[in-house]
């Protein structure tokens, strides 16, 4: 490809970058001064502890019994009260019980030094996990329903259309309640499974519409050419139509998956500690709602931003083919 003469857009004076920086700066500054005017004491220093905890790992008793600490204080032995069980611990930095104490199962005995993920990071992990698993189910579901939308068979077409209409016509929050309370009860699903099911079914409907648009965007002659070579409808779809359709749908699909990550915050209504729920819990223990919600927003941005980045790379690679 020959590169055409430089487009005017490439020669935009640097001043517009300056304008951009100025506007961002102005918004930042007004936020800062607004926050100074309200009666709120900022405690950003409380936050890191909830992202990565330096409290260390807790050592807990696995049965009821008595504590015995060695003379050098480096080992701790538990003797079971109603049995012959003996447990020895070492490598801890801080002992939280005394010589001869009676402790019960799950009591904290000591702490090992080290870092472990705080509640916000654990919540982020759950958000990532539930989004990723939902994605794995939503993609094939959406592909099948999307194929149903363009099928000639009226049963397949109408079933697919009904599914899409119902899902797109009701709020996700209501669907989550139905999945959690009704379907979850009938099928004995755990909260996590119900959450994955709700998000997959919800996202699947949108993926189906994206897939349908992609298939319809492929020129009609492509299907005719494939069929005229003797390929069956499924073969034509698989080798000719879908490869072209999916390439076109990559950008809208990315948008849908970013939506999925954000929508997953709604599962916090059903006893799942995702990033949003973790945020709420941290607020109640720190009394710093502003800092917490800003941090939660940044963590979501980290997830969605890196997803966009990966897909943009992928798109570039596909464009070079």
């Amino acid at each position: 490809m020959s590169s055409p003469a430089k487009k005017p857009a490439d020669r935009v004076p640097w001043i517009w970058h300056g304008v951009y920086a100025l506007v961002i700066l102005a918004i930042g500054a007004s936020l800062y001064f607004a926050s100074k005017r309200i009666d709120y004491s900022w405690h950003w220093e409380r936050l890191p502890e909830y992202v990565i905890s330096t409290e260390g790992e807790e050592i807990r008793a696995s049965f009821d019994g008595f504590v015995e600490i060695s003379e050098d204080g480096k080992t701790l032995t538990m003797t079971e009260m109603k049995g012959a069980g003996i447990e020895t611990f070492s490598g801890f930095s801080q002992v939280l019980v005394g010589q001869g104490d009676l402790v019960f199962q799950n009591d904290v005995l000591a702490r090992k030094p080290g870092m472990r993920p705080g509640p916000l990071l654990i919540g982020l992990w759950l958000t990532l996990k539930i989004s990723a698993i939902s994605l794995v189910f939503a993609l094939p579901l959406g592909l099948i329903v999307g194929l149903g939308r363009v099928a000639r068979n009226p049963a397949a077409r109408n079933l697919a259309a009904t599914y899409v209409e119902i899902i797109r016509g009701t709020p996700l929050l209501v669907q989550i309640f139905i999945f959690y309370f009704f379907i979850g009860t009938v099928l004995q699903l755990s909260a996590f499974t119900a959450g994955v099911a709700a998000l997959s079914v919800f996202t699947g409907a949108y993926v189906a519409e994206i897939v349908r648009a992609g298939i319809e965007g492929v020129a009609r002659g492509q299907m005719e050419a494939a069929r005229s070579l003797g390929m069956s409808y499924p073969q034509s779809m698989r080798y000719v139509i879908l490869p072209q359709a999916l390439r076109k749908t990559l950008p809208p699909l990315t948008g849908q998956f970013i939506n999925l990550i954000k929508d997953s915050s709604l599962v916090s209504v059903m006893a799942l500690t995702d990033l949003t729920k973790a945020g709420r819990e941290v607020v109640s223990s720190t009394f710093s709602p502003f800092e917490v919600w800003f941090s939660v927003a940044i963590l979501y941005l980290l997830l969605t931003g890196s997803l966009s980045l990966v897909v943009r790379r992928l798109e570039k690679r596909l464009a070079h083919d």
């Binding site: 020129a219 002659g221 492509q222 005719e224 050419a225 494939a226 069929r227 005229s228 070579l229 003797g230 390929m231 069956s232 073969q235 080798y239 000719v240 490869p243 072209q244 390439r247 083919d321």
Partner: protein, 251 residues
């Protein structure tokens, strides 16, 4: 099919087609094509010539009549269309190459997936066919990197790769820039000389006159006139055809 003339490759009888909006695209058409024959179909746009061609491999449904290809009824509900279409190659006005594949992959796809032939066998034949249409050096190019004439030649190679017994051409040069028409017609001419059975819908009168065994004039969904090319072009015994040819010569 005991009384069938074994030389007949295509036998259409009483074929009519009505579109859903009531337009009569084909009116009671009967047509035979013999093995090794080159048939050109000409006529004004909207005369139904492309529709007729597309009914021959069931890309277009018919309302009435019967079409037999190689002794199999194309439009019966029991027809194995996929098998049938492997026998009937088709070249489109808009080429319809698969843009996500190289020229070689375009040619190889159907033999691999439909005929389930071995990769090495298919590759050898595909390379041979690309060489035959003069594009051996473009095997690894994608359609977007090829000119219209080159794309159409790849499309011909792609149809030939299925080793069909008849080739249908639907205005193969109409979407081409004038300077590329010749290269495509050359390939088609060579094909005709090898004895390939061909049905060509075209506006290229020179090609029809030089290559066809029989030329057929369609207007308003009917076959108005058919004859050997010399008589067809030099002494047409039909008023409508004379008018049509007169208009073409004027432009």
């Amino acid at each position: 099919m005991t009384d069938r003339n074994p030389k007949l490759l295509i036998e259409a009888s009483g074929v009519s087609k009505q579109f859903a909006n009531g337009t009569q695209a084909l009116k009671n058409i009967s047509l035979t094509v013999e093995r090794g024959e080159v048939l050109c179909i000409i006529g004004p746009s909207g005369s139904g010539k492309s529709t007729l061609l597309r009914t021959l491999n069931a890309l277009e449904e018919i309302s009435e009549g019967d079409i037999q290809v190689n002794g199999h009824s194309v439009h019966s509900s029991k027809a194995d269309l996929n098998r049938l279409r492997t026998q009937v190659g088709m070249v489109f006005q808009q080429f319809n190459l698969f843009p996500h594949m190289t020229a070689l992959e375009n040619v190889m796809l159907a033999p691999l997936k439909v005929l389930k032939q071995s990769e090495s066998e298919v590759r050898a034949r595909a390379e041979q066919l690309l060489a035959k249409v003069g594009l051996a050096d473009k095997a690894q190019s994608h359609p977007a990197q090829l000119s219209g004439g080159q794309q159409q030649r790849v499309a011909i190679a792609r149809a030939l790769a299925m080793q069909p017994s008849i080739m249908l051409f639907d205005e193969p040069t109409s979407a081409l820039d004038p300077e590329m028409v010749g290269e495509v017609l050359e390939v088609m001419k060579a094909l005709a000389q090898e004895g390939m059975t061909m049905c060509v819908v075209t506006h290229e009168m020179g090609f029809a006159r030089a290559v066809a065994h029989r030329v057929l004039f369609m207007d308003h969904g009917e076959i108005v006139y058919q004859d050997a090319p010399v008589a067809f072009f030099d002494a047409p015994r039909n008023e409508r055809l004379r008018n049509f040819l007169g208009q073409i010569l004027k432009s």
